[in-house]
Structure formats: structure tokens, C-alpha cells
Symmetry: C3
Subunit: 157 residues, 3 copies
Amino acid sequence: MSDAEMLFRIASLNAAYAAAIDDDRLEEWPDFFIDDCLYKITSAENLRDGNEAGIVYADSRAMLADRVLALRRANIYERQAYRHIIGASRLTASDGTDISAETPFLVVRTMRDGQLDLFVAGRYRDRLRDGAGKLRFVERVVICDSSHFDTLVAIPL
Amino acid sequence: MSDAEMLFRIASLNAAYAAAIDDDRLEEWPDFFIDDCLYKITSAENLRDGNEAGIVYADSRAMLADRVLALRRANIYERQAYRHIIGASRLTASDGTDISAETPFLVVRTMRDGQLDLFVAGRYRDRLRDGAGKLRFVERVVICDSSHFDTLVAIPL
Amino acid sequence: MSDAEMLFRIASLNAAYAAAIDDDRLEEWPDFFIDDCLYKITSAENLRDGNEAGIVYADSRAMLADRVLALRRANIYERQAYRHIIGASRLTASDGTDISAETPFLVVRTMRDGQLDLFVAGRYRDRLRDGAGKLRFVERVVICDSSHFDTLVAIPL
């Protein structure tokens, strides 16, 4: 597969991923990952400091599904809307099995009173695998430009 | 035509559409639609409530052209600049004649004093048709994340 | 080469360009330009007024490299992070040697205290040339929507 085709497939994956979150179809979110995945939200500063922990950490699809259940119980989504704007990806590595890519993103939040704000900017550092014609995340590390995570913890990015 | 080719054509259409508005070439805007089109600005909340009316509603290209004339008379554009940032589209349906797609967008406004603000975020829900090698909107429903439309009504999104 | 292939290559170039800046690999930035390049930051208003000077002006790759050195000495990058979100390009001309394109962009800034703001919105007006399989900028004119450039001067856009 050419780089152009792979980048096209990654762009489509990211568009579907963002729409599932922004359309509040959160139950579909874990399906973008393989069973034995790693999903982490961290900051550029944490990575620079060698702090690998992350603010949010899940190392299986089951944990992502649990997270969605918890979010539904907390009813976080009622009062605001999120909108992901995802830039073009760069392929950073390929080892025959997996493809690595980085992708800039921005999430804008609209409050119920109509106020919009910049919620978070950063980049995805992904490892992707093709399985039965479907591309899935082996690993998605969400690297936020900010290290301040007050409310971020609740939200899938 | 493959999905990749269609998505490429839609991305090009959206880039041209956004540039016509942001470069203040509004007179070109109606040409992105078929004669017998539907253009509507509404909110996610309106759609959820089954309110189909919309804040802005035009059901022909002629109405869009009238709208541009009205905007020119009102001289709305003098004091601020708009910048559309449009994400990757998802194909949602195809019936042989028309293609349906959804696309996230963000519009940033720059005031004359240099102040920037987030003007509107949302998604386009489009139906597109190919006519003589040119893709046009049969229907463009602009679904804003916010339901507060103070000044929005005036601006093509 | 088809328009689709060219637009794909431009999108990849812009993704690499943005990542070099946002990842603070500024030393790589001049390599996106030919030796005898033109790089300029200006505003839509300046262009309308026929003011061709620009706020930032460099007419060789060596000047861009000097600029990076100056930025490193000034240590501008310590306290904030930048994130480019770059839209789809439009091809505007082609003369056999060079390709012209325009591309909307948005830069979001994250301060050390976690505050995000809209730093600048605008469009790139580019002339590009293929040399030994690598696309480079012959000319990149950064046309900002705002004419207020307080801190802008320091930052590669």
C-alpha cells in the first residue's frame, strides 16, 4: 500500500473516531482500538520529564468500555458539545505489522449558553494495525500542549 | 469512483467553498449549489427537538443569490474577517444519484482591532451531486453546536 | 502528476512543516524552502493597500536560518506551545516549473499556565517547486487575517 493510501485510511479513521465522540456515540469509541490496546492522555511536558504515567491510562479495550459506562453514569455530556478538528497525519514509522503516525488536533467546546472555548490542542501519537481490512489503534497517546487537566480527565480525546 | 476519489473531490469542493466566503468572493457562493437546492443553518439542539425550521433557510440558488445581495447592501463584511477550518469528511450514504457526507468545521473571526474569537463550530450534513464533472450541493445543512445565533444569521457558513 | 497527487504532496509538506515548528525542531524549518526563496508574513489589509513590505521578510534560506538562531538566543519558545491546524489546499496556478496553491491555517497557543488562545488565522499563498523528488517552497506568503502583529514577528508561521 502506498503512503498516500495509508494516509487516506488514517484520515478516514480519524474522521470516524472524532464523529463518534462529537456525535455522542461514545459506545462506538472502544471499537476503534484492538483488544489489547494502549490509550493514554498525557502532556508534552510529562513526556519531556520522562513521566510516562499519563493522566488517563487504559491498557485494554475493556477498560475503554468501562470508561464509557462511567461517563454515561456521570452524565458529563449533557451541558456541552465538543468538536474535534483533526489535521493531516505524518507517517513516522512502519515495521511490517504496525504503522506509526502523528496527527495534530484541536478540540473546541460549546457550552449550553452558547459560549465557545478552546478546550485542548495537541497531537496524537498513534500505532495502527490493519486487521481484516479495518484499521485500528494498537496505541493512541494523546499528547496535550497543556499540562493542566482539570476537566480533561473525563473526556475521550 | 472509489471512496478515496469521492472524498478527495469533496475536500476540494469544501476548500473552494470556504475560500470563496473567506476571500469575500460571496457572489461565487451560490454556484456551489444546484438550482433547486436546500441550504439551511440550524443547531444540533433544534434537530434533536424535531424542529426542522432552521435559522436560515433557502430552497433555491436564486434565494442564495438574493442573500448575497442583501449582505452586500448591509456591508457586514467591512469590519471582520472569517476563516473556515474544515475537517475531513465521512461518506454516510450513496443512492446512485447523490452522495451524502458529514464534515466538521470551525469558523474563526478576526475583528478589526485584531481580536480573534471562535465564531462557530459544528458540522455540515450534505447531499452532493455530480453534474457535468462538477460536484455541487443538493443540500447543505449547517448544524451548529451552539443554539445561540445572534449575529450568525447574516453570515454564510 | 494529477491534481489529487499534487494536493496530497502539498498536504504532506504542510503537515511536516507544521510539525517541525510545533515540535520545536526549528532548525529543520529552513529546509522546507529552496535556497533562493521568499518568505513573508503580512496581512490581508496590507495586501489590499498595495503595501508589499510585510512584517517579516526573508529572501533566502540563509536568512531563515539566521532567524532561527536569533529565536534560539531569545528563548521565545520556553513558555508557550504552538499548534498549527492546516486546512485543505487549493491549486491556483501551474506554469510547468512551479505550482501555486493557497491554504487556510489557524495557530492556537497554549501558555504555561494552561490558558489557550487563538494566536493567528489566515492563509498561506505558496509557490512550490519539485526538486529531486522533494517539494519545497519557492515562496511562502503568510497572509494573516489580523493586521496587529505585536508578538507575531518572532514566530515562524
